[in-house]
Symmetry: C2
Subunit: 142 residues, 2 copies
DNA sequence: CTCCAGTTGCGAATTAGTCGCAACTATGCA
DNA sequence: TGCATAGTTGCGACTAATTCGCAACTGGAG
């Protein structure tokens, strides 16, 4: 257990947002300035393997980065709004049941699950609805 | 509708495996040699936006690429075995119900869903089980 | 047949992620 | 305490994935 790993783990655990590698590096450096980018990548792989963190795409709303978050007791899924970029987190027993069904039917020993949903949040859907009413003839780009 | 787009769409539709951009480019070139890598990226973005294809990570078992497949009537999920690399596809009404619940509770207009699961397939789980029995004291890398 | 909005190829640029290796350090042991 | 060393790190160069600007091209409407 090195100072670098401690800083990275604490940063992820106390983070309020989903962190990509660049943000993770910057924030971890506030705790421990001697951290290198390569160490972040290596540690993230390590923690993924240990099942301590999950990796997310968040629908690639902001480029091709990956995001990381602590793995908590109950898995949650992520809803990403294509319009406003908002990320909604959501957990439900139905998801837990689905995982059990997947494991049972396929005889598969689940270690990680990742459910990401893209679409429009309620307010953005409402805005788009209103726009369509005002402009009944759709333009060439919908 | 250009020859390039036609070739790319047909290639994805008739593909038997999940295609990354490099494979997609190679296979599409067999139909239409005048295709450039940039066009593949641009077309893939287009088709994603139109909801004609889905993008997958497949747990990044083979590097950081993304994979593409035609979007069919019923969404299916992907199970990736960390040991042998096998990808299992699976569809179930429970997943469809979960999506409806997500949309209803969050008032979210779903356009894309992506459920990926990582773990061990049944045969790899059995092998690991046997290995543990023969070697009761676990090594430092479990 | 003409025209042009939209698409493409090209090649360079950017960005994310990886790697080899020498220097360093946590940790178990004398 | 100090030593040995397995494992970790920083560095910097590298690879791979993706994006971009722009001039040339083309599908298809008229
Ligand atoms: Mn989250
Ligand atoms: Mn990804
Ligand atoms: Zn929104
Ligand atoms: Zn397997």
């Amino acid at each position: 257990m090195t100072a670098q790993r401690r800083a990275l783990i604490e940063t992820i655990q106390e983070a309020t947002a989903h962190l990509d590698v660049a943000s993770l590096l910057m924030q971890a450096r506030e705790r421990e300035p001697r951290i290198n980018r390569a160490t972040v990548y290596r540690t993230v792989e390590l923690l993924k393997g240990l099942g301590m963190i999950d990796e997310l795409d968040l629908m690639h709303l902001n480029g091709e980065k990956h995001y990381y978050e602590v793995k908590t007791q109950q898995d949650h899924l992520h809803l990403a709004c294509f319009e406003c970029g908002q990320i909604i987190e959501f957990a439900t027993p139905a998801f837990e049941r689905l995982k059990q069904e997947i494991a049972a039917i396929n005889q598969f020993a689940i270690q990680v699950t990742r459910l990401e949903v893209g679409g429009l949040c309620s307010s953005c859907a409402a805005k788009k609805e209103k726009r369509l009413q005002q402009e009944p003839k759709p333009g060439p780009r919908g």
